[in-house]
Symmetry: C2
Subunit: 142 residues, 2 copies
């Protein structure tokens, strides 16, 4: 079992890029968060210039370390990829755009997986993943 940093280092090396301090800060901030975060949200936490932040996010996405999540008002939030964060789903507030992770218990997740398999079996489309999103209002927007 390797640490997250070791795994990220390997992934970045495979893309021929370095695991610098700014990139490390981004990965650690996202690892500590309990949902996807936008560039601006990270910016207000991290003391990394915005332009560098956007570049780091792009590099990390390209290397398969982060996955983007497109929300309201053109805001893209990033989270650790599935191999790092574990497979999970999202609860999204339609009002403020906040996204929280939810992990389904194995039984339910298994059912969902079977469902997706049935759906994609009939399509001429090569699926790479699936996402179940529950929409509603979060506690602070009610």
């Amino acid at each position: 079992m390797q640490t997250l940093d070791q795994q990220v280092t390997q992934r970045l090396a495979a893309s021929g890029v370095r695991y610098t301090a700014a990139r490390r800060a981004v990965v650690q901030a996202l690892a500590a968060a309990d949902g996807p975060r936008s560039a601006n949200e990270l910016f207000s936490t991290l003391d990394v210039p915005l332009s560098s932040l956007y570049r780091s996010l792009a590099v990390l996405e390209e290397a398969g370390v982060l996955t983007p999540h497109h929300g309201i008002r053109g805001v893209t939030r990033y989270e650790l990829a599935e191999w790092a964060a574990g497979h999970h789903h999202h609860v999204i507030c339609g009002s403020c755009g906040t996204v929280d992770d939810i992990h389904l218990d194995e039984m339910i997740e298994g059912q969902l997986e079977r469902l997706v398999a049935e759906i994609t079996a009939a399509l001429s489309f090569s699926p790479t993943g699936h996402a179940l999103e529950v929409e509603g209002r979060c506690a602070s927007c009610l």
Copy 2:
């Protein structure tokens, strides 16, 4: 059983706005499409000024006729709301951003519904809907 136009007229009346030619064109274009469409995509089809188009989309969303779908690069695509288009899900190409509708058969949809009910039962969050999105590559991006 009323026509779509009649139903939309009622919804807009409830919001105190008119069902004008431009709005009718938007609704009909989306009814004919087999997936969500962005303002730009509609613009290239409809001969409605972009600013009016955006306003029409906002009005129709506000009235509950359309629902937005946020895609890559900050592009928002709209589709008819569930009451008009029927409940369905999406297949999304991670490369070009194209979104296509998929309708699940009743048995599968019922399973999914039960799944979502189980998930939300444990959350202090008032759900308004759910979406299952299958990600992958479309035929033209392979």
